[in-house]
Symmetry: C2
């Protein structure tokens, strides 16, 4: 085979792997949304069989050979932005990572995390960190070993970040996070001590679920989620899953006395969904084989967790919690829930959905406090993986940081350092991507506003197309053509900075809380 033939064969194999991967996606979606709970053990067996097949197909040494043969061709890799060069770069990256871990380590990690999750559930229930601690110690040791196998330049944590935000390093995060923390902590103090506070009782007003369902569909459609190529369903934890080039599914959940939950999780997931729906699916004319399906290849896949999160956060917060958005939708809301909100001014409503206050639980926090929760976890992760912090010391460090950032201390570890599932999965390096998503979202929004704005006037008229079009062109259409860092520079002209996010918060929350 010449390099071009090798690439063809590689492409064929990789598309087959993607098709199989999306099959597992359908099983996963079904499990969360419609499957009878009693069938869980059998479904687990199915998913494990598919995972094994996927791993086997992807780590086949023939795949490594095909990548090497393809890489030798200038025609395929000469232009680093070409479809073939992008695909080969990312396949190389994934192949090397997936073949670097010894089987023993993979199996040991699977065994330990499987037990650790059970222990974590119990430890949280019993509020007993000491029960989880030995498992966390084992996971940290195995994760450090993983990092060594993967290799890194400066810090073992960098090797882990690669799984979630390829190309990102702890050095960059160490630049980005401290000033962010400082500003956010100051904002928290100002908000807490402000005399102006929203009327939170509004958020508990009864909204019949069928009307919420209809309104959520309206919201998702308005911002550009395409229901001809997607669905919205109900699940315990909202999520988005791409199951095919014309099949993107989002989920949400409904509570009669908590409309906020359904509305904003719908906007959030629809933001993820709009990204997936607008990834390229067919090769461009410039790629040599125009019209060919490229769905499932890196060129047609999302960049990173951080960039994905930027899309959900942008629609949820920058758009969906803005005053112009509700200038358009508040009258619609009043119509959709007759009598429920008639007595309220737009401003009262807008303040309520932008409430901020220190809290213990990350997933229940708000635009201002959320990233402080993340910074706290990031510091712990870097230090424990780096070896300067011991598992046993986590509860103390956690509570000290809570005191420092929020002025409150969790009454129990269950609502403190035991609240998140991530560490019991061995997912070190995941948390920072949430904050990156928030920072990217504000920087993208700012750039879009400068280029095709002012957007606010358009939102007031219910017109979200210019923003979506900008995102389609500047973010979605690129797939993995650029790594996240680079994409940010190409799309906004600047390196990622927390400036835009902090400006956004200062403007909105400063206005609402008066600082």
């Amino acid at each position: 085979m010449n390099p071009e033939q090798s690439y063809e064969e590689l492409l064929r194999r990789m598309k087959e792997i993607a098709v199989l991967g999306n099959t597992a996606g359908v099983l996963g979606w079904d499990q969360e949304v419609y499957m009878p709970a009693a069938n869980a053990p059998y479904r687990a067996e199915q998913l494990s069989l598919l995972a094994g097949m996927l791993h086997h197909k992807f780590t086949d040494p023939a795949v490594g050979d095909l990548i090497s043969q393809s890489e030798s061709s200038k025609a395929l890799t000469g232009d680093p932005l070409s479809d073939s060069a992008v695909n080969l770069r990312e396949w190389r990256h994934s192949y090397d990572r997936s073949t670097k871990l010894p089987q023993r380590l993979v199996e040991e990690m699977a065994r330990v995390t499987s037990n650790a999750q059970v222990e974590w559930v119990e430890a949280r229930k019993e509020n007993k960190f000491s029960r989880f601690q030995p498992w966390l110690e084992k996971i940290v040791a195995l994760t450090q070993e993983q990092a060594k196998c993967y290799g890194y330049k400066d810090h073992p944590y960098d090797a882990l970040l690669e799984d979630y935000e390829p190309g990102l390093t702890s050095a960059q995060l160490n630049q980005l996070f401290p000033p962010l923390k400082k500003s956010l902590a100051e904002m928290v103090t100002k908000i807490t001590s402000s005399k102006r506070q929203p009327d939170l009782s509004i958020l508990k007003r009864k909204c019949p679920v069928p009307a919420q369902v209809a309104f959520c569909r309206t919201l998702a459609e308005a911002i550009g989620f395409d229901f001809a190529k997607g669905r919205i369903d109900v699940s315990t934890h909202p999520f988005t899953t791409g199951l095919g080039p014309s099949d993107t599914r989002i989920t949400t959940r409904f509570e009669e006395t908590n409309f906020e939950n359904a509305f904003f999780s719908t906007l959030h997931e629809a933001g993820h969904g709009i990204y997936d729906q607008n990834l390229p699916a067919y090769a461009e004319a410039s790629a040599g084989r125009p019209g060919e399906s490229i769905y499932g290849t890196p060129r047609a896949s999302a960049v990173s967790l951080g960039i994905h999160e930027s899309q959900s956060r942008l629609w949820e917060n920058l758009v969906g919690r803005s005053l112009p958005f509700w200038k358009y939708f508040f009258p619609e809301l009043k119509k959709a829930f007759p009598g429920t909100f008639d007595d309220l001014s737009l401003e009262t409503f807008h303040f309520a959905i932008n409430h901020s206050a220190p809290s213990f639980i990350r997933t229940e926090s708000d635009e201002v406090t959320y990233n402080l929760h993340i910074c706290l976890r990031y510091d712990i992760e870097v230090n424990i993986i780096g070896g300067s912090l011991k598992a046993a010391d986590i509860p103390g460090v956690w509570n000290d940081s809570m005191k420092k950032y929020f002025g409150i201390v969790p009454p129990t570890d269950s609502v403190g350092c035991l609240q998140d599932v991530h560490w019991s999965h061995g997912s070190f390096g995941y948390f920072p991507t949430y904050t990156l998503g928030n920072l990217y979202s504000a920087q993208f929004f700012d750039a879009a506003n400068k280029e095709v704005g002012p957007l606010e006037g358009k939102f007031e008229k219910g017109d979200f197309k210019p923003l979506k079009k900008w995102l389609n062109e500047k973010i979605h259409s690129h797939g993995q053509q650029y790594r996240a860092n680079e994409l940010c520079k190409v799309a906004t002209g600047k390196e990622l900075s927390s400036e835009y996010f902090l400006n956004h918060l200062q403007k909105k929350f400063g206005g609402l809380y008066g600082f």
Copy 2:
């Protein structure tokens, strides 16, 4: 490997194949029920990939070797009713069949039927048999070649029946069908000429869909469909699919002015579902490894299409269209649809849901006429596969038979010989299983009634448990322990006969129409 080890390895592989097969099942269910239509091409690609994997895994020569090695053990095959002997018998049967067709023939058949389906749709639309005829000729020629590859003793049609009703021969059907045809045709004449006729306008009374949904769930639950291990959803064509040991899904469809459609298709599919839900899932103590999961093996699978259809028909017709059933449910129905049926007597309602009349379309026919539609098709199939009938002569033969059995002639081929999709799929041998299902259902019902009845009095009180228990024990629990013929003898003490079915019709329709 010794034979026992070979059997273990075979079992492992076959269970893996079953898990993969049920994965395709989930994709198929999702496609019919929830998938955005725009994703159809990608889903087709997924299903084709899985079908290829399944075929590849099942026809692996190593599988053939493992079967042969296992067969050499007396411990495994000595007792023909043991789990291992049953599994080996059926795996041998399927393996031999799947490896007997040359690749060229498989591919040619796939290509031709794929085109033929498109042409059939157009031919039916244009009412132009000549458009479909050349495709049908090609399919028949390929099917005859298939039959030769499979091998047969008396008639090539027997080789095809094996796909749907293993062990059945055309010689048996030639015994069974002619007296059935004669009696049914006589009944049709009596019904047509009867002065008593039901009031069909009742069936068009408006029943709001949400109330229909709730009532259908009540019906399915009452007869024993277990919603903790199953679901009911909506699809264009109702179907049942088993996706795991605790996951059986049925579908139905709702029309506001056609409650009959939803009610009886729900009972029909719930009947299929109850069979699937009560197949054995774990090995019995006597099988040597009690408690081991055997889901997906022949020992734990349904016997044949005919036996499966007997379960749906039994609940739909023998139970669901009986007077005792509605003695219990008619008051419930009146409550569920307030004001809609209050003016009706039970007898008027019961007569309406048991209307019978000659009609052109098989799928819209009734308990009396249905099997005549099948006999007509069977005669054509046997003769065309045997070579004594030409495709070009089908429309003439069809219309002559319609005249003979029903006294009516289809005005067009679209509502005549072009109405069914089966031949364009190359599915010769499928049709008879519908009638077998009806015959089995009446024979099983008769046996159950003799052993644990009288059942009528129980139905009047809404008690369907004794019948379900009898079916669980006599039919469901056996899986493929016996072939259909044998199972019938074991369960009822007699060979399959049309006597029970004809007695049932005579009793019910004779009473209603007065003959």
